[in-house]
């Protein structure tokens, strides 16, 4: 296996953003829960998976995990099984969800072409436009949401399995933090992917 320069650089820089969000505490959004904050440090990993594929997602996840192990934000992260292992899956799951949603989207559009145009003709053009737009961002939205959910579920699962917190506490923390994290991650993923794609297309033209 060898890595292209592109994969090396993008994973490195996304890893840097994950570390940066951690050291500056900017990656923690204050949430009114006992633990006080939700994290968005995993968003670079999600982006890596969606924009550059599972390998970049895996490496960025490893850097993020390694960092949260070596400079832990919460005590139970000082255990590689909690901090590193679950993070390896974030990028991969994001990529898989994004990729399959996109494929299903294309498939649905192709198979149901006739009935879809039929429906489109009946409803107002404004609504069809909005629906198409939503369809366009759906893969990113789901990719971000599932990536975030992977982080929450696997990390809290490992925390419980390793005995740091009882199951009830893990579940309530998971829900209280996981849900806002999921929403923020999904929205941010869409915004960031769209923004990055825009600079990429303008650069290709020039």
């Amino acid at each position: 296996m060898s890595l292209s320069v592109r994969k090396i650089v993008i994973s490195g820089i996304l890893g840097a953003i994950a570390i940066l969000l951690g050291v500056t505490r900017l990656g923690f959004i204050p949430v009114p829960t006992p633990a006080g904050h939700a994290t968005i440090m995993h968003i670079p990993v999600i982006l890596g998976g969606i924009l550059e594929g599972p390998v970049v997602g895996l490496i960025t996840g490893a850097i993020f995990g390694l960092f949260s192990f070596l400079q832990p934000g919460a005590p139970f992260f000082a255990d590689p099984l909690v901090s590193i292992l679950p993070r390896l899956f974030i990028g991969i799951i994001s990529f898989l969800v994004y990729f399959s949603t996109k494929k299903i989207n294309i498939l649905v559009a192709r198979v149901f072409e006739a009935p879809l145009t039929n429906i489109k003709n009946r409803i107002s053009p404004g609504l069809t436009g909005a629906l198409e737009k939503f369809n366009g961002i759906l893969p990113y939205l789901l990719g971000g949401a599932f990536g975030s959910a992977t982080n929450t579920v696997l990390v809290m699962g490992m925390v419980t399995w390793r005995g740091y917190l009882p199951a009830e506490a893990s579940i309530s923390i998971g829900v209280l933090h996981g849900v806002p994290e999921l929403i923020v991650a999904a929205v941010l993923t869409v915004i960031l992917v769209k923004g990055i794609q825009r600079i990429r297309t303008t650069e290709d033209k020039s």
Partner: protein, 275 residues
Amino acid sequence: MELTKNITLGVYLPGQSSIHNLDPRTKISAATILIVLLLFARSYEAYGLIALFTAALIFCSGIPSGYVIRGLKPMLPVLVIMWVFQLFLYKTPDTAILFEWWVFEATEAGLHMGNLITLRVLFLFTVTTLLTLTTSVVSLTDGLESLLKPLKMIGLPSQELVMTLVIALRFVLILAEELEKIIKAQMARGVAFDQGNFIQKTKKLFPVFLPLFIGAFKRAEELIVAMEARSYTGGKGRTKMKTLRMSSSDLSAAFVMLAYSGILIYVIISVEPII
């Protein structure tokens, strides 16, 4: 808003101390051993020993201890909150209850768990920070590459992975400066980051994140072009201008490390773990 001030990870403080002058391979292996041993330490005696050794390391490195501790500041509130969490939530069936507060019970097992796990975090942080403070990025890369070479046999691109890690470490500071600029620019336009409820605060982060990521991706594209223009092809057929050489001080450092690990392992095995 001084973001770069508290970042001690990836910062190198040049010096001529005995630790600075060690071969990077010795330092990386020693740090790895320390971290692994830390994961098995489950008694206060073991942590006492670790504290002594870490203090000795800081002393030998000639780095002002305040500098090492400064990086800890931003994570203190979280550590305190999580310590309280462990105190009230961690339970074993046969543990003594220290005191009760509302519906929560503080248990003895919770207290020990909170203490140990917080100590572990503190020492993990100190050991890794000490490693990066006394080792320049270049020698860190060389050391890691040489240590991870055997991984190539099982097909892992070790040199490329080390390069990725180095880029990440290198860019933390660069991106921190950029982030600071973005935040200041937004504040100059009247954004109050510390006001509002959860949703308002989150919304204010969006105009910070977008320029940060776009800037980062622009830099990435530039770096890709620069590396490709210099025909970077990973580790294949690469030679070094300065090859690493072990010296007699590395040998004595290895001896000290061996002796210390021996004592620590003995303490870890012989002293009854509290949790």
